[in-house]
Symmetry: D2
Subunit: 332 residues, 4 copies
Amino acid sequence: MINLALFGAGRIGSIHGENVARHPLARLVALHDPFKDNAVRLCENVGCIQMTPDQIFASEDIDAVLICSATDTHADLIEQAVAAGKHVFCEKPIDLSLQRVRQCLERVSQSDCITMVGFNRRFDPNFQILQRQIEAGDIGAVELVSIISKDSAPPPVEYIKVSGGLFRDMTIHDFDMARFLLAEEVVSVSAQASCLVDPAIGEAGDVDTAVITLTTASGKLVQISNSRRASFGYDQRVEVHGSEGMLVAQNVIENTVVAHSKSGVTSARPVHFFLERYETAYRAELDSFVRCLMGEQLKLPTMDDGLQALMLAEAAELSVQQGRNVSLSELD
Amino acid sequence: MINLALFGAGRIGSIHGENVARHPLARLVALHDPFKDNAVRLCENVGCIQMTPDQIFASEDIDAVLICSATDTHADLIEQAVAAGKHVFCEKPIDLSLQRVRQCLERVSQSDCITMVGFNRRFDPNFQILQRQIEAGDIGAVELVSIISKDSAPPPVEYIKVSGGLFRDMTIHDFDMARFLLAEEVVSVSAQASCLVDPAIGEAGDVDTAVITLTTASGKLVQISNSRRASFGYDQRVEVHGSEGMLVAQNVIENTVVAHSKSGVTSARPVHFFLERYETAYRAELDSFVRCLMGEQLKLPTMDDGLQALMLAEAAELSVQQGRNVSLSELD
Amino acid sequence: MINLALFGAGRIGSIHGENVARHPLARLVALHDPFKDNAVRLCENVGCIQMTPDQIFASEDIDAVLICSATDTHADLIEQAVAAGKHVFCEKPIDLSLQRVRQCLERVSQSDCITMVGFNRRFDPNFQILQRQIEAGDIGAVELVSIISKDSAPPPVEYIKVSGGLFRDMTIHDFDMARFLLAEEVVSVSAQASCLVDPAIGEAGDVDTAVITLTTASGKLVQISNSRRASFGYDQRVEVHGSEGMLVAQNVIENTVVAHSKSGVTSARPVHFFLERYETAYRAELDSFVRCLMGEQLKLPTMDDGLQALMLAEAAELSVQQGRNVSLSELD
Amino acid sequence: MINLALFGAGRIGSIHGENVARHPLARLVALHDPFKDNAVRLCENVGCIQMTPDQIFASEDIDAVLICSATDTHADLIEQAVAAGKHVFCEKPIDLSLQRVRQCLERVSQSDCITMVGFNRRFDPNFQILQRQIEAGDIGAVELVSIISKDSAPPPVEYIKVSGGLFRDMTIHDFDMARFLLAEEVVSVSAQASCLVDPAIGEAGDVDTAVITLTTASGKLVQISNSRRASFGYDQRVEVHGSEGMLVAQNVIENTVVAHSKSGVTSARPVHFFLERYETAYRAELDSFVRCLMGEQLKLPTMDDGLQALMLAEAAELSVQQGRNVSLSELD
């Protein structure tokens, strides 16, 4: 049995907290959230107690921590956790500053703790099958990857302001997906972006619609397209074109009922948002973390994966600003 | 909190037992199974104790029973349960004998207990949406219903021998589905059946492939097609043609990945069998039972629904034997 | 070059006439239609002259005739044609009377003329592929066939009155499709039918909605479902379940555009009616006839295929009247 | 009746020549091709005579010319044609040199002749429906366009060498499709390209795999992805994401048969190549030209559309060379 403590009892913290509560091999011992209401509610839901961060790090009972607190607390908590010998699961991003992430990874590398960044989409069963079929050579050499990733609706502008921008907040998942599917690092990034969905997002200094192209050393090409709003539901698809075939992971739809009428043949919409779409992925993600802590050898998204995705976001931002391809080597 | 006891710790009993264990408003207090191994294993899994039937019926703690034992014990247990004032969930069929079922329903009708037959497919989210859309008039008047229901593989011949035959064992779900979707009773049944899958099934006196046509008083027509074996997975579809449109509930498939190759464009197979396909339905079914016990007004499949489906099975068998349409009124 | 004459310049005659006009190896020399307007219009469209039946049969220039006139003229024209040594393509049905068809086939069998019945659906490219895959053993032994065949809208009641009834007029195509796909003759027919679409059809003594089950000697089962009205377009599908797989020929849809909106994901409707759906089939059908006349060995639907389909229609009608399975041997 | 003469009797010339031969309102009077074999064969097929270019331009019988000859003859022939008062249909591209195209358009603008560039995909029925639905506002404001365009197999390297490169030869259709679907001009182009399919293409100085991003003044974004080889068939799709919905034109597939087996559910491949996929489009394109010559007011792809698409190709090439966004205004 693995004993876990949780930082952050908001939306994403609740998902992980409840998944721990249901996991046969894990137990949520304690949680911390400065917003007392969140903390109390989640404690009741999952049957655990509140602790201060110091109590958590000092507790001999606790094997690992789940960091789901505000982004600007992530790096500090990671460092404290590994210093206290606790294994770490941390929601993305590690930090919005590349420099701070590098510093944090330096500390992590000096410990023996198991650490993992929460790139949940790697655990989506459909994307996993896609990745395994690529790896098995089913489509020959990968040549073109297309990642479509659109939210059903934009977050509040208040969130946008502290999010680090579209590339660090939203595209970061797609950057990681690209790296998950390619067997090769990206060397160059080109991005174009607009504010088309909501002018308030533009006024907050961010964009809401973007197209990003990644290139690898051998010339494989990746297209990402993002929008903060898809009126028809959460649009999350991946298409991989190889020398001997093409694989597409389609949207998950709400149900299997198809209606035939004068206006056409209508299937259900994609499921509404990430909670529904990635419910299974969140459970599988936590399960992988727990099983690694119990000694299994599984491939987890590492802290370095978190760093690499952030570098791609940084390069994309630079590309938009300067209207040119940005080489990853420029960020070293 | 509802306290439940379970009869039968086999495959279907385990499903319900585990669903109770996970239900926030229900608790599995005890179970009984004459096969000690099953009983012990499930008790461990769900954290309950063994009791004899007498102890269960005598216990003041127990609000209701789930009857998942061998078919020939169902009617007796139902009668004992309602005599003891316990609410009853009973797996289909109530009994293989129409006479015995009628006798049992007579007893049930004298009690105030809530009783329910386990027609799980009524709780499948896709079929529920289909039924609601019909009810809402989305396709006008229902005219033609087609129910395709094929198992991925036949059960052991030993099971076939005690199953009551294809119509009572397998088609019974489709008979109930027809009644669920039509707003009108069936008046006549015509059936044709063959043994095409496995000669051993024929030697056991049963058929493995069948086509059944149901007619209602107003002339609506229902086609059912059954096979004990679908090489490509569990094939469970419903198609309803109305005066103003058509609704189709398609198969649930294993994943959303589509492969494009020289040989075509390939999607995943239907999920393998009923455990996967109706997992959600089993949970929703139990949840509805529990919520009814807590006072909610929900439409549950009744004991009479169990009787009606069995009568359709009986009529289908007679139709095959005599090569003619059988009127339901002949069975009164 | 094959020289053809055409009887009947109505809707179906025009299709064939225009297809001859476009065929590189055939020429429409003359046509006859007692309705002068039709005759004149089609002559202009395709550039041919009018002739009387006697002139057509006497002409040494004419190799073959296409019989697309009123049903009650078919058998006479076939007999006159083969007596005159003309090859014959005849639209279905040969006649509404089984006895008359048998008499006609007796005459045909005494000639060396090539004769063919217009079961156009055998020439639909999708159904052809389906049939070839079955024949190639792709799905093992055929066990269950489902044929869905619904018109987009009922014909005028005046047409219904002279049509011979749903089974002889509409289902006849499905009976032939069943025979085309099975490698075995049907031995027994069961049918259920209703008047649900338009009471005027019932008043005219016909039905508009039907379900028919065919059984072969080895126990293969075929389901046909018919309606005179599918609000969403021409519904023409075939599904064949075999021991090792299932093949489905889906509807042909109007275009490939898929719209995603709040109300779902909408594809185009099936094409509207048989002229659009079977346009290619009509061309291929004529082409096969012409190529046979030029000496190629192709499998054409024979006059006997026309007889067999009519016998199935007769059996279906008897089954509805008597509420029982009808054996084909009863019709001998 | 419109009388036409044809330059070029190769693959594309034959398509147009045969479409004229079948058109009820047009006649192919003459053709010219320096390759005598091609000329003779097509003359026989369509029943016309050979003429020299001078004879064609001098003939009072000829209303218009179809220019399907080698690319380097296009601009000269266009100029001669309009000088002789002949209307012009010209295959893309007008010329590989931007300067030459501009010069040619200058001449064309001084005549009253109807001129048209052969962007056949604008006449594909599926893309037409897509465009009309966008125009009708079905998806609100267009925000993201994705054009996938992959050939089934690369042309011979000899062809590649004179083709003007991937962007001018292949992507030019996609550039025009983008302009067809956007109601706004492109202002900036970014392109990334690789040689992944065949090293011989790279040795010939070209690329075979590319990703291009277009930006309009208001910030709409267009993604194009190209490959010279799609192992599974001709891959031609368009996806348009708008503020209120998304439209997708899917591939046209070979047939409607779907096979269910242990390995999944397999539909047919996309049709093999452009001759099959755009057969209808080529006919509709010619028909529009003819109907314009007869006085109808239809929107044809103009010579300026040809220029604009070529400018986008030029900008894409520059973008690849310099690793930056290229503004269209740089090409003025």
